[in-house]
Symmetry: C3
């Protein structure tokens, strides 16, 4: 027997008792992906892309107005032997303050516009993310994991007016005195604009002081007439710095987005880029609304001069 | 706090927005299974059977009437260390056309009545499935996996009137140019009757041309008065052919079902049957409605002359 | 799109059809845990605690009034690489009789008050559980596993008036004639009081008769004025016996709970306690209602004279 959940807020009075619910939401996508790098014997440059995501969210609030909740995500990609169930985060707070514990973004990823300029159906090389510098720092910062665990993050968020501050630490969930990424980030919203800055000590979670690397990032994004524009900059100690510019424009049901990114290694090869010590990456993509689903595609070029492209549909439920 | 989903279609208007929902459904069963083959030292011919299944279905539709969705299944059997979450499939289409990507049936399993004549609580030897020939081809075709992944299938379904065609390929979700089962199947419904035929190239997913084996299958099923009857036939290149006849009869709350199957090896031993080169398998079972749950049981004999039997209850939610 | 499940029983008529539903519920908690035992090089005595639990319950009933159902639990703790999906149990029965199959408590854990006197946010050493004697028998009895499988338990429960009997066996879900914990337990409720007793043959699931150990347990709990009190006793053959006394008192929104436990080894070292051959364990904790969430904490001392303490919040949804 099929069950249908109501796609609207329940209005049934729950009397004096504190409200608490478990809700389901999710998304799906499929399409085709091209990657020029996969040109070896027995390899195919194209593959089918498939993803399904289900979010299981528990939420509630106390009589005194404190909200609480938690999330477990189910995720399935093409090529998986089975769906994954990501480690949970749990949280408590109100409009001004929240603590989140578990599999969640660190302070920087929570505040800074690292994902500005994401393109295509799948994100392709994710070269638009300023903390992805060459091969040395790919998704180095604490980032929510849809399949695993960001690493036992504890994050505190404060918001007053348009101003916000986040503090985070990771590697907190074991009885080990191991290396921890400790971050602070601030953000400010005014009108259509958002600016943010953050600093992470030991962004690479090194257990040895000598090899700790700190990261500093800035971002700004907003609208100029019908254009959306953004900039982000990250510097990883002794590795490299990267600046990313992005823009997008809406033509009715269609949006076109593009980015260009430039990485400068601190010493040649320090970010895995190679001989030149610097590299420019870029990408362009589009989305077209199907009125409940979206057609999306894009093409990008990364620091190894390889090309990725994709095309497909995605939808939410 | 317990939450209750409504066992009816939601009637709340969602205005102009496209509808999208996540729904849960499932089933359970338990009972006892006997298997004469398990007669070694330290073995027991009987065991307790237990299964629980939860389907997590995301569905929606666009303003233009295109439907989309996806499914993740949770499954737990007796003896499991934990429940499994099967890889997802996602789909999009309408009444005439649908594309399904991921963990899903191939064209043949989607159209042909391979599961006609399934008996008992658990299916026992599944000797009624015509593509199960001896030990050589057990569940060889792309079949939805409740615990894992059918293998990154892409399937296209077309339906007009009672006529339907499906096309499928697998092994599409990686960047490898590996062996693929490519299938086509057609079906036609008229009154209480259904006939179907299909052909799979490289049904055994061989990466080497020389060992590719093609499969051809036919099925028909319908009603003659109070009797339901069915026939299916499969031929796997260089291995064997198998024909299965099945019938069932309803006595009020009770249904009795039976099948007889005959396998002919192409050369003696080519399907793992052994000396005779041919074998007859058969089974009989019943279901009795408990008005919301079902009592079910059966007994079957397979190509190794072993006997399985089961008895138990199953129910849906 | 977010979906909200109704936190009340559905009142929509389902006509003559048997009712069946899948419901979601769960809980979360986070806080800090101290453990004096973790004082080695590179270790930290404190860690962050995080847990999220989601119960997926399928339930229904037949036209004749027989209820049925099943449960799969999702669980995520701090330090996990991913969330776990526990093996399911399925059940059928009515007010007087129920059979439960799969990942479920054995007869003893189902009837006896082993968890009387649980303290703190997390339970700390769980030294209040009388079948936890030293290191030899930690969670030795069949106990529902929130992450894995109790071991294919079959349990029968009978309830008439305040009187109840449970019978159970385990290791039933494979075709092996291996060692099985077979248990019987009885309980009786009168007014605010509950008493229970149980016996488990081969509580340690030994496959060899010579090393089988039987367990016998008793418990009683109830209220004396504003005080809640309990006692439990367990004896594990050739290992040890343990008695636990617990009490609690409610001060409005705050409850204080404490226990003291004493273990006597049958021979010195038989339960892993060490030189003395006997040991006293104790703990004290509190909960304070936040009106929908709970602040909880505690401190306990175990048989190795180590101290654990915790403090945090927990909530249900």
């Amino acid at each position: 027997m099929k069950k249908v959940l109501f796609a609207t807020t329940a209005l049934i009075a729950t009397g004096g008792m504190a409200a608490a619910d478990v809700t389901l939401s999710g998304s799906g996508r499929f399409g085709i992906v091209y990657n020029s790098a996969l040109d070896g014997a027995g390899q195919s440059k194209t593959k089918i892309e498939k993803r399904m995501t289900i979010n299981v969210d528990g939420t509630g609030s106390t009589d005194t107005g404190l909200d609480f909740g938690g999330r477990i995500r189910l995720r399935s990609d093409e090529g998986d032997a089975a769906s994954s169930a990501a480690s949970a985060n749990v949280w408590m707070g109100n409009d001004m303050f929240r603590i989140t514990v578990g599999n969640t973004e660190g302070a920087l990823v929570n505040r800074i516009g690292y994902f500005q300029g994401s393109i295509g159906l799948t994100g392709l090389h994710w070269a638009n993310v300023s903390f992805n510098m060459g091969s040395a720092s790919r998704f180095i910062l604490n980032t929510y994991s849809s399949r695993g665990n960001a690493g036992d993050v504890v994050r505190l968020d404060f918001n007053v007016g348009g101003f916000g501050v986040s503090l985070s630490s990771d590697s907190t969930g074991d009885h080990l005195s191991n290396g921890s990424e400790d971050g602070i980030a601030i953000s400010y919203n005014f009108g259509d604009w958002n600016v943010a800055a953050g600093f992470a000590k030991n962004a690479n979670n090194s257990a040895v002081s000598a090899t700790e690397r700190d990261m500093f990032s800035l971002s700004a994004a907003g609208n100029i007439g019908d254009f959306g524009v953004g900039i982000q900059y990250s510097d990883l100690e002794d590795v490299a710095s990267k600046v990313v510019l992005n823009g997008e424009y809406d033509f009715g049901q269609t949006t076109v987005a593009a980015f260009v990114a430039h990485t400068d290694e601190d010493t040649v090869g320090s970010a895995g880029i190679g001989a030149a010590g610097e590299e420019t990456e870029y990408g362009i993509g589009f989305t077209h609304s199907l009125g409940g689903a979206v057609l999306a595609g894009g093409i990008s070029r990364n620091y190894t001069d390889e090309t990725m492209a994709d095309l497909g549909v995605r939808f939410n439920f």
